[in-house]
């Protein structure tokens, strides 16, 4: 897809004709044509390294025979390739034989047993009769961090972990140490590993030298039951492999096979280590009824009948509009569909929403505006072939870690230009040749986005005439950019115009562009204007330049996209067909007493909604509250009835990721205790209401969704995901006039602005229950610039009190140059540090003051 097109090379592999793109290395060409070649150190996501010397093949070009290493030698036109000849086998076998001399051969207790490239190669080369005496290494294993065990006796020095850590993850926590016979991989001076704990090193390790200590089983990995499913944390939508043994999920692995998932075998700490939520003794295991303040276990029949009765009487007494529901961004599409159907069709209420939409209904509008402007956006799998990636206000390693992996791949193999705009100096190490950092003043996002567009027009970086004729309100829009002069923007953002010009030049050129927008823009009070400004920017290049542009709305959780697609919003029915909405703010309606019944499916608004006070009051006031969830959240504690629901590993369905890929969720184990998937709960609730749904299994509900919402017709996946496309591609481009920033309200006496978002190891209300994630991210630590800290006489490890006009919290602090001066960063994932209390419903940046905690 990249603007550089590659010629095809015609080659012959073992006599069979094949055609592969120019520049492909021979090993990759063989793999693509299902011809096995022995190798141990090759990975298609990494730069060739040629460490193991076991991939020799024979080539014949113009009648000249050569023996070459297939992992580094590219194909040539007319090349004849022969694999596994007597001669190449002899060389490859000799190298393998050396590796086996020292290898422990302790396969029965090895995590790679049966899925081990070293075993596979030994078998492939028939290396059964070693000439040397085996001298097993027997060093103790290194377990100085909570996640990754180093058992270096099995290490064959292929360097895959070192390279993955560097090239894929950009962390470089591992390297080769010493040399010659005593060389080994590890950390500096054998210090405990302190990294992003993505575990890519475990995935790529061909021998089990690196092991996942969170796995509850050792050895015989080949006998684990594998279930491919979609991760339930962020909205990137990685395909993960749940490995289970005797009905228990033991670990999560990545699948590096071709075309499996959008993530190509990359995972982050959350995705890999977050399986602790599945088998967890803190889960709710039975329906619970609140009887005078204490919870009594009841049967499902009793619970569902009580809900159905209450629903019916509420409809009869106060009308259907007195019932409301909040679906979760973590429910499957099928569950969210049934949820809104329950409210709309069976009860007659349109008051069904999700928390992201309740806060920022403009996200859906933005997505639809993109379609209208002719920007349909490519599948996210194409990100790694991008020419330009603009990362706008997103801390990739925390927010979309695997998105970061794709971009890094692009910087190596497609020469992607990297443009990062963020108020913090976010860490993102890559091999980008062009790496423009726009570190702007917190809250000045709109000025950055607007100025970029104006530079493109002023400097004629795009075909202005073409854009003008394509877009009717071009002149009005250009006029709205007038305030964004170089001087004014430099003043408000703190970025020099040269930097912005350089970014604009790279973005405007003929290229395939991807724009990733972070969820932090929601906290600026100008989210809608910022998205519009970015859309205008994209529309300008779409119609005024060549190439393509893709932009995705910021989505936080695994199914934040799907829950909206399924119509769990008061504004839209499934498939974004407009609904008549006259409901107003749901929580306020509870407080006002107009809502008599609230059903919250798998969400914890007390912790995660930006108005905790109003939510608490709403939940106290509403006469009947039903909560279904996995764990006992603060919200569940206020419910009249609690329903135990299932984790993602115990249910079937689909999630839709932020780039609209509909991906499969598959059950690996049976639900714990008496818990049930929300799908089953909703089906049975409809029965208890006496109005059963006609479709009661996943497949037929999917079919129903496809007929109700045409955009979902034919996109339900088998084992491959499909990106849904808007029904109409009739572009009707239009600029949304850029607003002017109202400026952030700087309350006097509160000199700092607060930034809160997801911690690298936590997201949503579940990750705190995963032991491994708590082990690596145990406590909430705020970050402050060292110069600010010095002025306040605060040092790393101190406790500070953070006060806003609305509330205060106490938190531990560390100094970090990532966070700019005048900013305080606090991750939002700890219930002990409820940062939303500082916001308490206020829009815009939160102004805070900081003081050292006493004692």
């Amino acid at each position: 897809m990249s603007t550089v097109t590659k010629k095809a090379c015609n080659i012959k592999i073992n006599g069979k004709a094949a055609s592969v793109p120019e520049g492909t290395v021979i090993l990759e060409a063989c793999k693509q044509n299902d011809v096995p070649v022995s190798n141990l150190c090759y990975n298609r996501k990494l730069v060739p390294f040629a460490a193991c010397r076991t991939c020799m093949i024979e080539t014949v070009v113009d009648g000249k025979k050569e023996l070459v290493y297939s992992c580094t030698q590219p194909v040539a036109e007319g090349m004849e390739i022969r694999t596994g000849t007597e001669e190449t086998d002899r060389y490859n076998k000799a190298c393998l034989e050396m590796l086996l001399v020292e290898h422990p051969l302790d396969c029965p207790i090895c995590d790679k047993s049966g899925v081990c490239p070293l075993q596979d190669n030994t078998d492939m080369l028939q290396m059964f009769d070693g000439r040397f005496e085996i001298q097993r290494r027997n060093e103790p294993s290194i377990k100085t961090n909570p996640i990754i065990e180093f058992y270096l006796n099995r290490c064959i020095m292929c360097g895959l972990c070192v390279r993955a850590c560097d090239e894929i993850q950009g962390v470089q926590a591992l390297d080769f140490h010493k040399r010659g016979m005593s060389v080994k991989i590890g950390t500096a001076n054998d210090e405990p590993l302190d990294c992003e704990f993505c575990g890519q090193c475990i995935t790529v390790c061909p021998t089990g030298a690196l092991m996942d200590m969170t796995s509850s089983a050792r050895g015989l990995a080949a006998l684990f039951t594998e279930t491919h499913t979609t991760c339930n944390y962020c909205s990137w939508g990685c395909t993960i492999k749940l490995e289970s043994k005797k009905g228990q999920v033991v670990r999560i692995e990545a699948d590096e096979n071709y075309d499996v998932g959008i993530n190509e075998g990359n995972l982050c700490a959350k995705g890999r280590l977050g399986h602790g939520i599945i088998h967890n003794d803190q889960r709710i295991e039975s329906p619970l009824m609140n009887v005078g303040g204490s919870y009594k276990e009841v049967t499902w029949e009793e619970a569902l009948q009580a809900i159905a009765d209450r629903m019916q009487t509420t409809v009869n007494r106060s009308g259907p509009d007195s019932l409301a529901g909040i679906s979760s961004e973590k429910l499957t599409n099928e569950e969210s569909y049934l949820f809104q159907k329950l409210f709309r069709s069976l009860l007659g209420s349109n008051q069904v929403t999700n928390l992201a939409n309740a806060r920022a209904p403009y996200l859906n509008a933005f997505m639809l505006n993109c379609f209208e402007n002719g920007i349909v956006s490519q599948p996210i799998t194409k990100l790694q072939e991008a020419d330009v990636a603009l990362v706008f206000n997103s801390d990739l390693p925390s927010e979309y870690p695997v998105g970061g992996n794709s971009i890094r791949f692009g910087t190596v193999f497609s020469e992607t230009d990297l443009l990062i705009a963020n108020p913090r100096k976010v860490v993102f190490d890559s091999r980008a040749k062009i790496d423009v950092r726009m570190t702007y003043k917190h809250g000045s996002d709109l000025a950055v986005a607007s100025r970029l567009a104006r530079i493109m027009i002023d400097n004629n970086l795009v075909d202005v005439g073409k854009a003008k004729s394509a877009i009717p309100n071009y002149n009005d829009w250009v006029q709205s950019l007038a305030p964004y002069t170089a001087q004014a923007v430099e003043q408000s953002t703190g970025i020099s115009d040269d930097v912005l010009t350089r970014a604009a030049e790279r973005f405007a050129r003929d290229a395939d562009r991807f724009v990733i927008v972070g969820n932090d823009i929601l906290d600026t009070n100008e989210g809608e204007e910022i998205l519009n400004a970015l859309l205008n920017l994209c529309t300008l290049v779409q119609h005024g330049s060549t190439g393509s542009v893709s932009i995705y709305p910021p989505r936080e959780h695994c199914n934040s996209q799907g829950v909206n697609d399924m119509g769990c919003t008061p504004e839209f029915l499934p498939g974004y067909q407009p609904a008549k909405d006259s409901s107003g703010d749901l929580f306020q309606n509870c407080v006002d007493g107009t809502l008599k019944f609230l059903y919250i499916a798998g969400e914890d608004p007390i912790q995660s909604y930006y108005k905790p006070q109003v939510v608490k009051e709403a939940l106290r006031t509403v006469p009947f509250l039903v909560v279904s969830d996995i764990f006992m959240t603060d919200t569940a504690r206020m419910a009249d009835l609690i329903l135990p629901s299932s984790t993602f590993a115990e249910k079937d369905g689909t999630y839709t990721n932020m780039s609209r890929h509909v991906q499969r969720v598959a059950a690996a184990v049976i639900p714990q205790g008496l818990s049930k998937p929300d799908f089953d709960i909703l089906i049975e609730l409809a029965e208890a209401l006496g109005k059963p749904f006609e479709n009661t299994d996943i497949a037929s509900v999917q079919q129903e969704i496809g007929s109700v919402a045409p955009i979902y017709k034919g996109v339900f996946p088998g084992d491959k995901s499909v990106q849904w496309k808007p029904a109409s591609t009739n572009a009707n481009p239009q600029f949304r006039i850029n607003g002017t920033s109202t400026g952030q309200n700087g309350a006097s006496g509160y000199p700092f602005t607060l930034q809160t978002n997801n911690h690298m190891f936590h997201i949503g209300s579940y990750s705190q229950y995963a032991k491994a994630l708590v082990d690596i991210g145990p406590e909430c630590i705020a970050e402050l610039h060292p110069d600010d800290a010095k002025e306040l006489k605060i040092s790393t490890g101190d406790n500070i009190v953070v006060e806003s006009p609305e509330g205060k919290v106490e938190v531990k602090v560390k100094t970090s140059r990532v966070t700019s001066r005048g900013m305080l960063y606090i991750p939002k994932n700890w219930t002990t540090v409820p940062v939303n209390a500082l916001r308490n419903g206020e829009e815009g940046l939160i102004n805070v003051k900081i003081s050292k905690a006493s004692g």
Binding site: V171, Q172, A173, L174, D175, F176, H177, K178, R179, S182, G186, T187, A188, N189, D190, E191, D429
Partner: protein, 182 residues
């Protein structure tokens, strides 16, 4: 055999306060922050401190944008680079074939008996650091060793301690160089 192993950094050494101004000066004089300057920079820093102190490495890592694992990967690759403060005199004991045959191991043992150090180690008084070398190219004078800047050839293994005894901790000047007779 393990040779020239660099001992694990002593935590006490790392906490020691050092004056980092010379490192700042070295970094300031680099033309840019390309990684190609890493090894020359490490050599210059070692010229100043005689080893590579951790606080100095932090500055180099920051400026050249290398991680801790990478910089210590490089340092551990080259025996020339040290992360602990060596003794006043570095003994490079030749372990080449000729020296080996003519008694280098005996010299090593004698040093160990007196100073309790093996290759890669520094004695408690920080007078000597012992290293071995594969061949110092002076086989005619075997067994031989370099002590500080001095070359000693045709060492009688039994007289090892007499040779070393000439070196004192509080010597202002090193003893006059004895050229080996070939």
């Amino acid at each position: 055999m393990e040779t020239n192993e660099i001992p694990i950094a002593d935590p006490e050494t790392e906490e020691e306060e050092i004056d980092i101004a010379p490192v700042e000066e070295i970094i300031k004089n680099l033309p840019d922050n390309s990684r190609g300057h890493l090894i020359p920079t490490l050599q210059k820093v070692q010229d100043v401190y005689r080893y590579l102190p951790a606080p100095a490495m932090e500055l180099v890592m920051d400026f050249l944008n290398v991680t801790q694992a990478q910089i210590y990967g490089i340092i551990s690759f080259y025996p020339q680079l040290r992360i602990t403060e060596p003794g006043k005199y570095i003994i490079k004991l030749c372990y080449g074939t000729a020296c080996f045959v003519k008694g280098a191991p005996i010299i090593g043992d004698k040093i160990h008996d007196r100073y309790h150090i093996r290759p890669g180690e520094t004695d408690a008084s920080k007078l000597f650091t012992l290293q071995t070398a594969s061949c110092l190219g002076n086989c005619g004078a075997a067994p031989m060793a370099l002590i500080g800047d001095d070359t000693h050839g045709n060492i009688d293994p039994e007289q090892t301690l007499d040779v070393l005894g000439e070196y004192k901790k509080d010597d202002a000047e090193a003893p006059a160089t004895e050229e080996a007779t070939v």
